[in-house]
Amino acid sequence: MDGRTPEQFAVLQLSGCAGCEVALLNAGDWLDERELVYMPLVISAYDVPPVDTLLVSGGIRTDEDLHNLRRAVQQAGRVVAVGTCAISGGVASLGNRHEVREMFLAQAERRHVPRLLPKCRPIDSAVEVDLYLPGCPPTPELFMAVLREDSDFEASRTVCQECGRKKLRDMKPSHLVGFQSGEVLPDICLINQGYLCVGSSTRGGCRALCTRPGHPCVGCRGPSDVFIEKESEAWLSSIKRVFGGLTDIPEEELDQALRSPQLALFLFQFSDYARRDVEAENRPLRPKEKVL
């Protein structure tokens, strides 16, 4: 610090898991560069004060989430949607499926607590967002790039390019075996080993932190720039093309697996970026310039 007042930022947590907040605490570098003025997880304060940057994590699940969000954005110079829940509803949007919703809303009924809204919604369905930071959660490096407004920050285009596992043309599994075979081979592409990995379509910047130690990418960073403004058919067929070159897995098996809830967690929000009218929520397009 050189005597200037450091930029101030606040963190508003809606319904989520606090994983984004924990990730931010791991990025301790901001301690010397920025001033954190509001974050109920670590600061006792009642209201969001005026700030340069407001980071919002979590989805809109209750009427209180909506109220807090609308009030907080009035205090902020720029609003950043942080993490998959704030951007697409995240894991909680699995609860938006019709049959789950009925059971859930009926059984969760209470008298004295904030009321649950019919669905878990992303924050840009209610307020204007200046920047999207996807990831479940985003890495400390990505948080720092946002806080520093670092225009030099460079992520690879896809997770696949950051992974570094070797793709083999002569190791073609005929089925998705997952973890049933025991140990994962080091250095060899997970697709060659029969794992359902979608790192070839997923936005880079996480440094492939799941695939390198041996877990297939589930797509938490959302679509790469190539796919961000395209409909689902584009990335679905791209994933299938990659599998076609590296495996002999039947297309029906792949199709079914790509629709599983684990991937639906993240993958089926890929196309939300390009759609203005998602389940009548009328949220804005998310151009790639606004996504880190």
Binding site: Q13, C17, G95, R97, V113, R212
Partner: protein
């Protein structure tokens, strides 16, 4: 009838305390969890094998415990036993979680109460202490980061781990990163001890200010760790949960699958979190429960703190603010124990065995930072037909409310309400380190 509402901060998640007063008498004190996402409902129909990736998202603070409990529930259902090295890596992973969580709770959540500041990231009163605070925050984050880095090393992803899989873990730890990690812990241990010493001292000052260590009476205690060398990753098949009587006698020991026979679960209309009791009595889980059942921890620095604790406060100890000190002791233990394990070879044997998924029922049990965590799945046609998550925080909910009533009666009289009550409410709740995202899920 006046109602006092206290929003809570420096805990995980959204909760508040509501105290009802009638004619100067405290009628009730409610601990209200105000959020829910519905995991129990929306995991129905999910392919069982995908649970270990989905359930860490219940909570970004306790994700590691959910990840491992989930894998162990599936192993129970599939009848798979991971190889010894698989267990060892999981133990390291859970130690990383203990380090990260206890450092967070001790330094970021409750240290500000000792220093009289709203946050470790805010300036203290008076210019001379500003630098002091910055140093404290930097050092606290350094200790905490050791836990995070250990989770990354053994769990892959740093918040929602991915490396534990049915049958073991996806890979071991190579000698070089193991040695680097060990060195990092070696450097952090004296920092952690210094911070904790200061915390211990300032806790005594706090005791003088509020009269006792938080009033309240004795309680039953519940934990899944043994009486020495606590292993947070209970071995499948040998997992037991123990209940200790208020007098310190082990009065119950049961397997995760029998929890419904031993514990009573109920819901309320003012909170999205339920609560449990034992034989109609209030229970406590978390650090004090574990330390009350521990004879020795088995590592040198931690055992020094443990004897000092037991000589000063007795065993079992009951005052609620002692939960906070116990977390510090466990932080030191986890740092020391992780160093011991990192000295062993961690990549010379198989880390996973193959398995065949099958339908049935499975129970996974780990001792999470907040107490025993059970995942219970029923699997039909490879899909989750039903899932239950028995969250440690719900074992503490009755105890939290009892302690809040005691605090409220101390500060509310027919004549006046002492506004020290607001700080007392915060201290009482934080002593239990509740996790709302988990408790409601």
């Amino acid at each position: 009838m006046p109602t006092l509402t206290f929003p809570l901060s420096r805990i995980e998640g959204h909760a508040r305390v509501v105290i009802e007063v009638h004619g100067g008498e405290v009628v009730s004190a409610h601990f209200e969890a105000m959020e829910i996402r519905g995991f129990r409902y929306f995991v129905q129909g999910v392919p069982a094998e995908q649970m270990p990736v989905i359930v860490p998202r219940i909570c970004g603070v306790c994700s590691t415990a959910h990840h491992v409990a989930s894998v162990e529930a599936l192993e129970d259902a599939y009848n798979v036993t991971p190889p010894p090295l698989g267990h060892t890596i999981r133990e390291l992973l859970l130690l990383g979680q203990i380090i990260q969580n206890q450092a967070t709770s001790v330094f970021l959540f409750t240290m500000p109460d000792r220093l009289g500041t709203p946050s470790l990231f805010k300036a203290l009163e008076g210019a001379s202490s500003e630098q002091d605070r910055a140093v404290l925050a930097t050092r606290a984050l350094k200790v905490r980061k050791v836990g995070t880095d250990l989770i990354s090393l053994t769990g892959g992803q740093f918040i929602h781990p991915v490396k534990a899989t049915v049958g073991g873990v996806t890979s071991g730890v190579a000698p070089e990163p193991a040695s680097d990690m060990r060195q990092q812990i070696l450097d952090a241990l004296p920092v952690a001890c210094e911070l904790f010493d200061r915390y211990w001292e300032t806790s005594f000052a706090l005791r003088d200010r509020i009269g006792t260590w938080g009033d309240d009476g004795p309680a039953h205690y519940i934990t899944a760790t043994g009486d020495t060398r606590p292993n947070y990753d209970g071995q499948p098949g040998k997992d037991v949960i123990c209940v200790l009587s208020p007098e310190g006698v082990a009065c119950e020991s049961f397997a995760a699958r029998d929890f419904r026979d031993i514990l009573t679960f109920e819901e309320t209309d003012y909170s999205y979190a339920g609560r449990t009791s034992y034989d109609g009595e209030v229970m406590r889980a978390n650090s004090l429960a574990r330390i009350n059942m521990t004879r020795s921890l088995g590592t040198p620095r931690a055992d020094e703190y443990l004897s000092r604790f037991q000589e000063t406060f007795g065993q079992p100890a009951h005052a609620i603010l002692l939960f906070d000190l116990c977390r510090g002791i466990e932080l030191v233990y986890a740092l020391e124990r992780a160093m011991e394990i990192l000295e062993e070879p961690l990549d010379d044997e198989e880390t996973a065995v193959s398995h065949t998924p099958q339908d049935g029922e499975g129970f996974g049990l780990v001792e999470a930072p907040r107490g025993p965590l059970i995942h219970h799945y029923r699997i039909e046609d490879g899909l989750i037909a039903d899932a239950e998550f028995i969250i440690p925080t719900i074992h503490n909910n009755l105890a939290i409310e009892r302690a809040l009533r005691v605090a409220a009666r101390r500060y509310i009289t027919p004549e006046r309400i002492d506004m020290e009550l607001e700080r007392a409410v915060g201290r009482v709740v934080r002593a239990f380190d509740p996790c709302i995202a988990c408790a409601t899920h």
